[in-house]
Symmetry: C2
Subunit: 325 residues, 2 copies
């Protein structure tokens, strides 16, 4: 961090991304961090607007996230779902009793005409979050998973109900072409003081791609002087969490950080891989992507802040070489 | 029940009415009992349709009612409200974690286009309730409490938020003139085999009056051969539960079972008072209302079934004298 005052925009999916976002929040003052969460996995369930990635990041920044489960709130109870089971309601998506308050209040605020960005700001303020968190868009975008059997699945049906069992052959993002980056996201990308755009270690296909594919986003990223740095979610050939590696295999890609770098090629200016994958550095750099090797497995808060620091230092190095287009 | 096979329609508000309804359910087979619940106290809260009286009766019939609180479900937890408090949401109306499942599923089913009657039937079936429970109407009716200060309060604001503190000068039932009795309620009233219409010991002003004031209801009650019998909710000058006695004082009425009988005069064929009020029997009968004296304080299930039995016997006595108009 030293003498520079980096202004960082971090793009995050769920758990892995939220960990690095928390690392940034611990080393950057509020005005120097903007976290942008994927909303492509949002869906309506039981009449409520559910934003899994956005809430995982929000709960993580508020330090009320459930560390054991990796989703939902700490100190959670499950009596709502128990009663709904008795009533033969839809219970495949477990909504905790505390978590429900978020969805019901969000629905109430959205009904007043507030945008998802505005609602998110309100919820974050009330949870005491200092840093800014925005959804990637205020428009509805729905990730659809195309499967080998020909069936198309809404993302949460694939992810939660079917536990990622169906074989994936591709993805579709309904509503994406008509969606706009949220005002906060766009303003962040266009901020002349921006010094780093970080793609957190999240699922490239279903957490990051929807964000990058939002109309105007890549153009704004390329026009920024801030380098775009992605942190590999694949370490030692496996995903720390979630179905990223399984998806890569099903899509015919090698399950490696190198394959992730190739996936992002043309969209990033730098790549971060784990110590375990040090041998891939030269292959990735041969793609024209400067790469650093560090610990990316974030078990402790110190791991999170150290990785965040390394990424910002890397951005500082790269900033002298990026030529905005 | 000896030789008669009574078919009973019981009109109920919340707790007190539900106790007697349960008594009937224990002595009558499903096809011989229809319970009609007040929905004048229904309201939307946090975007959800809340039906306090209907749910109290439903939970009571399903034997999952919270006996300590007198509302909500047994084994309830309060983590939703705790989280909503943290989020600075509206928490004056305590929704339990289990109770929420009812409201969310009801909202979901109503959204599909089902009527409140249909939704109630579904919820009752899923809770294993054998007897039929219907809302008084499928149309929205909202009880408004007019207060001494000139302020008009939505019923639950008066009842729960303001704990019945404001002084009452009158009531208004928004939507009532345009509402119709629910199909089940109307069919029950018009059933030629009906042998008793029972007004359970519920608040006369805010639980029973909205039901009786539904267009067509009194006419159908008068046209029925079944006598209409009310059980006094006032015992020894006080209400067993709720603000009925306080309301009577504020409305300038004596706080007595006699005043309740006068309130129902012209709408009932018989009245039931508690042993404690035996001295009022002659004054009530002087109004032209045949009256029986029995224990109406239902502390145990035996109390409930015994009172239900007494009421049905009384209806049988009265049935020979009623001349439908």
């Amino acid at each position: 961090m030293s003498s520079i005052r980096p202004k960082c925009l971090a793009i995050s999916g769920g758990v892995g991304g939220a960990k690095l976002a928390l690392g940034f929040a611990h080393i950057l003052p509020p005005e120097q961090l903007l976290v942008v969460a994927n909303t492509g996995d949002d869906f309506r369930h039981l009449g409520l607007p559910i934003c899994p990635d956005l809430d995982t990041v929000m709960y993580t920044l508020a330090d009320i996230n459930n560390k054991e489960l990796g989703w939902g709130q700490q100190g959670e109870s499950w009596n709502f779902i128990a009663a709904l089971t008795q009533l033969q309601g839809e219970t495949w998506f477990a909504l905790g009793d505390r978590d429900l308050a978020t969805h019901i209040l969000r629905q109430q605020l959205l009904t007043t005409g507030a945008s998802l960005s505005e609602v998110t700001r309100t919820l974050c303020q009330r949870l005491g979050i200092q840093h800014e968190l925005v959804p990637m868009t205020d428009n509805p975008v729905a990730t659809i998973v195309q499967t080998r059997t020909g069936e198309s699945l809404a993302f949460q049906h694939y992810f939660v109900r079917d536990r990622c069992v169906p074989e994936v052959i591709g993805f579709e993002f309904e509503g994406l072409a008509a969606a706009l980056p949220s005002p906060g996201f766009l303003a962040g990308l266009q901020d002349p003081d921006l010094s780093a755009i970080v793609i957190c270690p999240s699922n490239p296909f279903v957490s990051v791609d929807p964000v990058l594919a939002l109309p105007g986003t890549l153009t704004a990223m390329r026009a920024s002087e801030a380098p775009v740095i992605a942190v590999s979610p694949i370490v030692g050939g496996v995903a720390i969490k979630g179905p990223a590696a399984k998806m890569m295999a099903e899509l015919g890609m090698p399950q490696s950080a190198l394959a992730v770098a190739k996936h992002y090629q043309g969209r990033i200016d730098g790549f971060v891989i784990d110590d375990q994958d040090a041998d891939l550095k030269s292959d990735i750099e041969a793609l024209g992507i400067p790469t650093i090797v560090t610990n990316t497995v974030m078990l402790t808060l110190a791991d999170r802040t150290l990785l965040a620091t390394r990424v910002l230092d890397f951005a500082h190095q790269l900033s002298t070489t990026k030529t905005p287009s």
